[in-house]
């Protein structure tokens, strides 16, 4: 048996031994242990190294607030970083490693940093590595310092393999959600249940009851507090939702609570509960604060609550010779517990004394206690040194208000309590009870919970150990000697000296000081550091602590695995994949797909042995010389109908829509109200008061939302309605000089001649005994038609057109063909900063109609400047070159530093027709740079290019 484990007592199951590994060594614990308690029982006193100074660190707490025992867990080939050892239940085969220490946490070579005075003082990185540093030829930052600092600092390494555990999300709706199953939480949940409410209660621990397991002798209604908690939990489980190992980590508006529930049987996996409750009851208890004194971080210095828990719950004696140092009378309980367990209390630091030093190498061996002088400072001459292996420290209790603050609650300093407390215990739907509401004793906590509902619910008497009596003295004097060793934040290695340095450098706000010193910025969110930091800053800046306040909190309250946030949205459930009704045909042809929004669109159809370039070149040739076919079902389609439909669209598009006759269609552009191009497409007039609008494939949802926004909020007077028909109609574009002959047999009833179906005309017909529409539009410059049939008939249409002789082409060929014509694609030639004027499309801005969205913005002075980026064509001097999309345009072949970037390539392809690479680009003052020689830079390569008009092939007469 491990030497620190007591022979009897505790809530562990001694019949169930559990084997686990820590830093490669095998140890034994018991069921009911946490990893932290098992480590303590096995005399593992150094649980890690500190963040900056690499000082040895031991367990301070055995709860959520533990700042030092941060471990990496391994399961199979997977690692789980930054787990708090006191929150990890001991499971067979558990494999844990400390997060820092090289070569080991027991002997760490970087400890040398601690011996260099002020080596890593507040602002060290800013002062040393930032600012106007003359860079030597040999870049030491990238090659030496950054790698070294990364090795020395930081938390657990990020996992290298994916998290394959199962995480789920569950939504629940209840009347009352209680967070925390201590006495107050249990009483509140029972009270609500007795009122007929639907109740959910979540407890972070593996046992309900909170502090009762550390307070032997407490009885409620005549039964032990542990038994009362267990039986109450049973009732709640039976009639409501009651979950253990479930931590509320975020509280949001309208009673929306997020809870992470860990697996009871595995170290990974779990469930996020999305709880919507009419009332949220926060019963999260209080956090104990450590005292601040030199050497307060040496392993062997522990919080009083942790010592009580170690003895009473885990049957562990953390030290045999203890010194008690606190500012309240609750230490009496610890004294009793220690003595009962066989330890000797060798000293109790009196009100006129303080600890001025701790000594020992990796474990406490000696404590120096000094008298305080009349000035409040310790007098080292009047000190005594005592042999001890445990300092039990307590600076009082702070209500745990994190969730309350997330919900918008405010806190204020209470001199009576000696802590920041909530300004009001009830805020909207949120209510604080128990120790979180500064009701620290068992009796008060129960009463606070039992009065949740107005139903005369009550308990009998609470007898025996009633828990913390309350706060005693205010925060102990912070001003100490050796401030370099008096820590306020254990996890981030911040000392009183750091806070004072920040104050000397002008920091007054707690938020700024936090960020400058990093106090409270660790994974523990400064749970043991917040008040000490505020007190140190208050002293250093001669403000009172109320003025300083505490830094803000935000979700998540405790580390939650990323996998939990993803839930089941991983792998095949990561994202919807949208397929057209022709998808099976594309698969059969061996298409290579690309993602366009959620759609899978065929990019090209390679034949055996063909490269992408060869396939695209072949597909382009088909369209330019014969006929090709493209699945355009993904285009967004919106039915716009109503007496005011034309007026509605007139306001949204830059050109006139009202003059389109039924049977005709028109290309149009929509702007955002800042004048930038938002989307484009073809608008077809179906009838006098009905239009069919097509949008880009990826923009359909955004365009519909944009339209609805204007219709519902700005122009409710317009009689117009919008219906998405994207999936009602499947469409195929047929393009090429032989397009007409290919489809004429398919649609014999339609006269496809230019006189009957001219460019930008459309006709309704019947195909496969169902309505169909044929549009005369082209996105390639060739003779083009788009045929639309009901979605279910898409593949039938595909088969028929292919049978008639058209060759399938994909989106890559489509892009080449449209770019040769200078046709833009929203998202390629536009990026939210481009106007129609920049694109050389002034012609699409109507001068004869009234207002349209974006019109006013186009008249702003900045829109009229000549050096705006404008759309041009580029042809590389070396025709074999295909420029990189995104390549920067510069004016000089040998870039200076810094070389002004005057534009960038938006689209770039190889053209079979031109036998050359070519590109579209946005270039400053581009319209006036025709025939100018510029240079395209990308990833260190520079190519000379000539500026040309963005139309490379003349439009053909069809």
């Amino acid at each position: 048996m491990a030497s620190s484990r007591l022979t009897k007592g505790g809530l562990i199951d001694r019949d169930q031994s559990i084997s686990f590994q820590y830093n490669g060594k095998t140890y034994i614990g018991f069921a009911g242990d946490t990893l932290a308690s098992a480590m303590l029982a096995n005399d593992i006193h150094i649980v890690g190294r500190s963040f900056k100074r690499h000082r040895p660190r031991g367990l301070i707490s055995l709860g959520l607030e533990e700042p030092n025992a941060i471990v990496t867990l391994s399961t199979g080939s997977k690692t789980l970083p930054n787990r708090i050892a006191s929150e990890v239940e001991l499971l067979n085969g558990l494999d844990a490693k400390s997060t820092r220490g090289w070569p080991s946490s027991k002997f760490d070579i970087f400890r040398a940093l601690d011996w260099v005075p002020r080596a890593v003082a507040a602002g060290f990185y800013y002062k040393t590595f930032m600012g106007h540093i003359r860079r030597p030829k040999f870049d030491t930052w990238n090659s030496i310092w950054e790698p070294l600092i990364r090795r020395m600092a930081g938390q657990s390494p990020a996992p290298v393999s994916s998290d394959t555990a199962t995480y789920q999300h569950t939504d629940v709706h209840v009347d009352v959600a209680v967070i925390g199953a201590g006495l107050a939480g249990l009483a509140a949940a029972l009270c609500a249940l007795n009122s007929g409410k639907k109740v959910a209660i979540f407890e972070r621990d593996s046992l309900p009851g909170g502090r009762v397991h550390s307070l032997p002798g407490c009885t409620i209604d005549g039964e032990t507090a542990e038994n009362w908690a267990a039986s109450t939990w049973g009732k709640l489980e039976e009639k409501g939702i009651a979950r253990l190992r479930a931590t509320g980590f975020g509280l949001y508006d309208h009673g929306f609570l997020t809870v992470f529930e860990k697996s009871a049987t595995k170290v990974d996996g779990g469930r996020i509960w999305h709880v919507r409750a009419k009332k949220i009851v926060i019963a999260t208890g209080a956090l104990e604060r450590p005292m601040v004194f030199p050497g307060n971080d040496l392993p062997g210095v522990m919080l009083s609550g942790a010592v009580e828990t170690a003895i009473n719950r885990f049957a562990i004696l953390p030290g045999k010779k203890a010194v008690l140092y606190g500012n309240h009378e609750d230490l009496n309980n610890v004294r009793t517990a220690l003595k009962t367990a066989g330890a000797e209390v060798v000293a109790e630091v009196q009100i006129d004394e303080t600890i001025t030093g701790t000594f020992g190498s990796g474990r406490l061996k000696m404590v120096e206690i000094s008298k305080l002088g009349t000035d409040g400072l310790p007098e080292r001459k009047k000190s005594r040194r005592i042999s001890a292996d445990l300092v039990v420290t307590s600076g009082g209790w702070s209500p745990m208000l994190h969730l309350y603050l997330m919900a918008g609650g405010q806190q204020t300093w209470s001199p009576e309590v000696g802590a920041f407390i909530a300004t009001t215990s009830e805020k909207g739907t949120v209510k604080l009870i128990g120790a979180a509401n500064a009701r620290f004793t068992a009796r008060d906590a129960l009463k606070d919970g039992a009065t949740l509902e107005d139903n005369n619910f009550s308990f009998g008497d609470v007898t025996g150990n009633n828990g913390p009596i309350g706060q005693g003295l205010p925060i102990a004097p912070i001003l100490q000697t050796d401030k370099q060793r008096a820590f306020v934040d254990f996890q981030h290695d911040v000392t009183v000296a750091d806070i004072e340095l920040a104050a000397r450098e002008g920091f007054r706000s707690i938020e700024h000081t936090k960020r400058y010193t990093t106090s409270g910025m660790g994974t523990d969110q400064g749970r043991t550091a917040q008040l000490a930091t505020a007190a140190a800053l208050a002293t250093a800046t001669q403000q009172n602590i109320q003025e300083i306040g505490l830094s803000g909190v935000r979700p998540p309250l405790t580390p939650v695995p990323f996998g939990a946030f993803a839930g089941r949205r991983v792998g095949r459930l990561f994202q919807p994949e949208r397929h057209t009704s022709i998808h099976a045909r594309h698969l059969a042809l061996g298409a290579v797909f690309e993602d366009v929004g959620d759609w899978k669109r065929p990019r090209y159809y390679p034949k055996p042995g063909e490269t992408m370039a060869e396939a695209v070149a072949r597909e382009c040739r088909s369209v330019r010389t014969d006929v090709g076919m493209l699945d355009v079902s993904t285009l967004g389609k919106i039915d716009v109908a109503g007496p005011d439909a034309a007026e509605f669209l007139n306001r949204l598009y830059t050109n006139r829509i009202d003059t389109i006759k039924p049977g005709k269609c028109r290309y149009g552009i929509m702007l955002k109200d800042d004048g930038m191009v938002f989307d484009d497409g073809v608008v077809a007039r179906i009838d006098e008061d009905r239009f069919l609008v097509t949008t880009t494939s990826g923009g359909a949802a955004a365009v519909l939302a944009w339209m609805e926004d204007w219709r519902q909020t700005e122009w409710p007077d317009l009689r117009v309605r919008l219906t998405s028909l994207t999936e009602q109609w499947a469409g195929i574009a047929v393009a090429g000089p032989n397009a007409r002959s290919v489809i004429k047999n398919l649609i014999p009833k339609v006269d496809l001649s230019s006189s009957s179906l001219p460019n930008l005309g459309w006709q309704e017909t019947v195909l496969f005994d169902q309505p169909a529409r044929i549009f005369r539009v082209s996105f390639s410059g060739e003779l083009g038609f788009e045929i639309y049939v009901h979605w279910q008939n898409g593949s039938k249409l595909w088969d028929a057109i292919k049978e008639a002789g058209a060759a399938p082409y994909g989106t890559e060929a489509m892009h080449v063909l449209r770019a040769e014509m200078g046709f833009i694609v929203v998202g390629h030639e536009t990026d939210g900063t481009v106007t129609p004027v920049d694109l050389g499309m002034d012609w699409i801005l109507s001068k004869t109609k009234g207002d349209f969205i974006g019109k006013r913005a186009l008249k702003r002075p900045s829109m009229l400047e000549s050096n705006r980026k404008q759309l041009v064509g580029l042809v590389p001097t070396d025709p074999s070159v295909v420029l990189d999309e995104g390549a920067q345009i510069i004016e000089h072949p040998r870039p200076r530093s810094p070389e002004p970037m005057i534009g960038h390539v938006t689209s770039s392809y190889w053209s079979e027709t031109l036998s050359s690479g070519f590109a579209l680009a946005l270039v400053k003052d581009g319209f006036r740079r025709q025939e100018e020689k510029l240079f395209a830079w990308s990833l260190g390569k520079i190519h000379e290019v000539e500026v040309r008009p963005p139309i490379f092939i003349e439009t053909k007469k069809n």
Binding site: D171, R721, E727
Partner: protein
């Protein structure tokens, strides 16, 4: 026009999915028409009661009218309407349907959506989302739900439901 092609064609043979007292199957509801008009106009046009309230439904002559919003409605007709009125927009092709039936159905839906299905009465409809997909869900009986979503989202929705059934602690 009622569909013959199905977005579930690749996985159709797997249906119905059965397990944990739940059955998931593909549903055919008929022709679908979107209507955006006031209750008065619709009542006059269809001759059906329209004082349903949002989420309410009514049936008549093999037609079911669902109120999705103050001026947004869905008409489900067993057979296509030969000459639909001007206010009806044929959206038959845009939606696909699944039926979730069994004692655990409500738990599955509650797990997947922010909506509380305990509060949804039989014969009522909720517009919500499942795994980020917009859905409309009608409670047909105490334990049976009809779920509609965009045609192209059908396979993803069914995969998500199957996954949820497999993991359900019912």
């Amino acid at each position: 026009m009622v569909k013959s092609w199905s977005p579930f064609e690749d996985i159709e043979s797997q249906f119905p999915i059965k397990g944990k007292s739940i059955e998931l199957s593909i549903a055919e509801v008929g022709a679908l028409y979107s209507i955006q008009a006031t209750a008065e106009v619709i009542g006059e046009e269809l001759g059906m009661p329209t004082d349903l309230g949002v989420g309410g439904t009514t049936s008549q002559d093999e037609k079911r009218l669902i109120c999705l919003g103050p001026d947004k409605w869905l008409l489900i007709a067993k057979n296509p309407i030969p000459k639909p009125s001007y206010i009806l927009v044929d959206v038959t092709q845009t939606q696909c349907w699944l039926e979730l039936d069994g004692a655990g159905a409500i738990a599955i839906l509650n797990n997947l959506t922010p909506f509380d299905f305990n509060g949804l009465h039989v014969g009522s409809v909720a517009a919500t989302e499942i795994v980020g997909l917009a859905v409309i869900i009608e409670r047909l009986t105490e334990a049976k739900f009809l779920i509609g979503t965009a045609t192209t989202n059908g396979p993803f929705l069914s995969t998500s439901l199957i996954d949820a059934i497999a993991l359900a602690e019912i």
